[in-house]
């Protein structure tokens, strides 16, 4: 059961990360277009997304079980990305937020802007946790393999 859930969260982690990244990209680019600012200005906002994606690919490529088979970590990733998607969708579709309609851009930038700090906190937090878990399990694997060789 745990294996099935872990597999599910592990799979959704990638899908949700890409979806969260796409929606954030869409909103921030629209926000910069509205302000007639250079698109390069929003690039730092995407660094944590890209770093996290790279780390996930490394986890997958090197089969780092400390992360890939960590149910709690994968669940937290899914939850964090779902929150980002939920907020992005609200910024676009929740017309009960009056500023969404007031400025006529179809996106409530004011609402989403408040959330950028939380996005960064969550993404950098997941990144640090991933790196720490990655090393821990690598060490454990080494210990196991050394033990097997010794035997």
């Amino acid at each position: 059961m745990k294996k099935i859930f872990n597999g599910l969260f592990y799979f959704f982690k990638f899908i949700l990360l890409i979806a969260a990244f796409g929606l954030t990209l869409f909103i921030l680019i629209r926000m910069n277009v509205r302000l007639e600012k250079n698109i390069m200005g929003v690039l730092p906002e995407f660094i944590p997304f890209i770093l996290l994606l790279i780390v996930f690919i490394i986890n997958m490529a090197f089969k780092q079980v400390g992360v890939t088979k960590n149910l709690f970590y994968n669940l937290t990733c899914c939850l964090a990305f779902t929150t980002i998607i939920c907020v992005a969708l609200r910024a676009i579709f929740d017309t009960n937020m009056v500023l969404n309609e007031k400025y006529g851009y179809g996106i409530d930038f004011n609402f989403f802007d408040n959330f950028i700090a939380y996005i960064k906190i969550m993404l950098y937090g997941l990144l640090i946790a991933d790196i720490l878990l990655m090393f821990r399990e690598k060490d454990k694997d080494n210990v196991k393999s050394k033990k097997l060789k010794g035997a």
Binding site: A80, T83, N96, N114, Y118, L132, D139
Partner: protein, 229 residues
Amino acid sequence: MKKILLDYASAFAYTITGLIFGLAFFLLFINFYHMQELNTKVDMTAYNQNNKALVEEKLETIRNNINVYNQSTYNGSLNIYGLNTVQIKLQNCLEILESKDMMKYFELGEVGINDSYNFSLDFKNKILNDCLVMQIKSLFNTDTVATLPNFYIIKPYVDLDLDTLLGSTDYLQSNIENSDHYYFSTDNNKTNFFDLTEDSYSSVMNNYQNSLDLMVEISNWYRSIVIGG
């Protein structure tokens, strides 16, 4: 030593993951709560019907008071330019007050946050700007009107009322705009302090009624000077 460090790293990683889990869960939950809160509809049918009856009564009073004067049949001694100016300005205001854009709010059954916001904007643009500022304020700064009897008695009262009304909905508008920021408000404090949708709507309606009261007072003054002069 290395093992201890790695154990600490592991503990640290789980702590961070736990904190992120808590933060994400909190944000997701608060967003759903906020979404529901903003989606709340308040049944204002009876309230609107009562207000509609009051508004129609006041509009009828204003209309009757304005129609007391007719330039072609007027035989009094007062300055007809002044009387004409007051009549035209009050007539313009009356048209704005009973326009479809304003009267539509009295037909609303369930009121949402957007309705309250649009009502406050329409009240500000149409009643405060187009009627009270462009018509009434300018009326009381016209030389020909200043020659009419009791002008200087009613003018301070009108000025004071206008000043009060002009700033009356600013805080409501910014309050609703700030509702886009999410926060926790329990049902208890909503009941005790300020329900955004219902109380904003009622506040704008009260200001609308106050504007009409002012118009009624001015039209009463106009009627009294036409009949008396």
